[in-house]
């Protein structure tokens, strides 16, 4: 059984931050609890105080402002999947969210929770890395914005201080010259490997490319050298280079064998998923 704790349900951000300061190390926060409650059940973690963030208004909501889509940290994957606004403005975000876990996990689990828990096997993390998203973090000393690249430090490790919360995720919106693909592979529910790719085209040439691989290393990785090597190329050239790109992607990563697969297995997955993501973006107009 879960170790005993006291339950708190702040209704404002100020209250939540105050509780965190007061209770310090003895408190943890949660929204969906799909990770936290699970590890609490198995005894991997315990806490004297549990702070439920779901009633905090400022952590909810999805909106668009000055070319940025803003998703509150407590918004669930299902809400993102079904949001008319997201489907209209950034369809790839909705379709990525729709692949997470299973329907029950999606109805409970939050975007902020997924990022804060920092399980290496994450779909949002690799997608947000490829799309240059920013997290707004809030704490006793105020707000700060951190790029997803700088937010993730290691497996289950982020830059969040104990008394800080993720407030929201901001993703820059693109015009119709940009398309985004997200490919993942799993035999259970957590991705064994995933790839997110963002391409901006201008007059038939690659203006900008974002290519990220996730789940096979402790944190998702942007493949900057590969990105730079394809800028300025035409669709046909990129497609012509696809095998090299796929090989370079799997070569670029320091992989470790584990229960999810051997090094060769993961190398193959990365290669295949990269190829599929590139085809998704470059084979169709």
């Amino acid at each position: 059984m879960i170790s005993a704790f006291e339950y708190h349900r702040p209704e404002t951000l100020e209250e939540a931050l105050q509780l965190l300061s007061q209770l310090g190390d003895e408190a943890v926060v949660y929204c969906g609890g799909t990770e936290l409650i699970q590890i609490a059940k198995t005894g991997l973690t315990s806490f004297k105080h549990l702070i439920d963030l779901k009633a905090v208004e400022q952590l909810q909501g999805i909106d668009v402002n000055s070319g940025t889509i803003r998703v509150g940290a407590a918004v669930t994957h299902y809400e993102i999947e079904r949001s008319a606004l997201v489907r209209h403005q950034l369809e790839s975000l909705a379709s990525m969210a729709a692949k997470i876990g299973n329907i029950r996990v999606r109805c409970s689990g939050s975007l902020g929770g997924n990022l804060a828990f920092a399980d290496p096997h994450s779909d949002p993390a690799v997608y947000l890395l490829a799309t240059d998203a920013t997290l707004v973090i809030v704490g006793a000393t105020g707000e700060r914005a951190v790029s997803v690249a700088n937010f993730c430090k290691g497996a289950y490790e982020t830059v969040l201080d104990h008394d800080e919360l993720i407030l929201e995720v901001r993703i820059p919106l693109q015009d119709n010259r940009t398309s985004i693909a997200h490919q993942r592979f799993t035999v259970t529910e957590r991705p064994i490997a995933n790839v997110a790719c963002r391409a901006t085209m201008g007059e038939g040439l690659v203006l900008d490319l974002g290519l990220a691989v996730g789940s096979v290393t402790d944190i998702p990785v942007r493949l900057v050298e590969i990105e730079e090597s394809q800028v300025g190329r035409s669709r046909e050239e990129v497609l012509g280079n696809i095998e090299q790109i796929a090989d370079a992607a799997s070569d670029a990563l320091a992989l470790r064998a584990d229960s999810m697969g051997s090094i060769d297995y993961k190398r193959n997955l990365v290669s295949v998923l990269t190829r599929r993501a590139i085809r998704d973006l470059f084979e169709h107009e």
Binding site: A4, R9, G33, I37, A40, K41, G101, N102, C107, S108
Partner: protein, 167 residues
């Protein structure tokens, strides 16, 4: 002297009946439903959110009761398999499962039916594709799934009043 554990007042509505309980915040929804309310239709199988046997609806959305705290249902409407029966009459999904022999041991069945009921509450006329995606998180070891999908589809097809098949 026994240790005093923190408790909390829980007011939830389960199958349209209000319950006022004093519980420990660490109690899961599955525990409260099964052990405090005697609603044993909800099963705990994997106890890790994977199998779907413990699926209940909270405000119409499916959740894993095994990994949801009961306090998360505070002031919300919980619907269990027992709640799908109205005035002694089986829900169309339950009838369909009977007709299509969509269960053998029956252990996964409440979870499947509640999941499917949640889907029908969210999507007017789900396609076969949409049904497969939604039910992807429910595991059955007995039937091989075809009869389950056929049962759900038969309820969708029987509902002539809804719009044509969509996502």
């Amino acid at each position: 002297m026994a240790p005093r554990y923190p408790t909390i007042q829980l007011n939830i509505t389960v199958n349209d009946r209000v319950a006022d309980l004093t519980i420990q915040p660490r109690e899961t929804l599955a525990y409260v439903l099964r052990h405090r309310l005697g609603l044993t239709g909800t099963k705990v199988s994997c106890d890790a959110q994977i199998c779907g046997a413990c699926t209940v609806m909270v405000d119409g959305l499916p959740v894993s009761a095994c990994t949801t705290l009961a306090v998360d249902a505070l002031n919300k409407q919980v619907t269990t398999i027992e709640g799908l029966v109205t005035n002694g009459e089986l829900h169309p999904l339950q009838e369909a499962f009977l007709e299509h022999s969509a269960f053998q041991c029956g252990f996964c069945t409440p979870g499947f039916i509640v999941s499917a009921a949640a889907l029908l509450g969210q999507v007017a006329r789900p396609s076969r594709e949409a049904i497969l995606e939604w039910l992807d998180g429910n595991i059955c070891r007995c039937t091989g799934y075809e009869s389950i999908v056929a049962a759900v589809l038969s309820v969708v097809d029987d509902d002539q009043s809804a719009e044509p098949i969509g996502q």
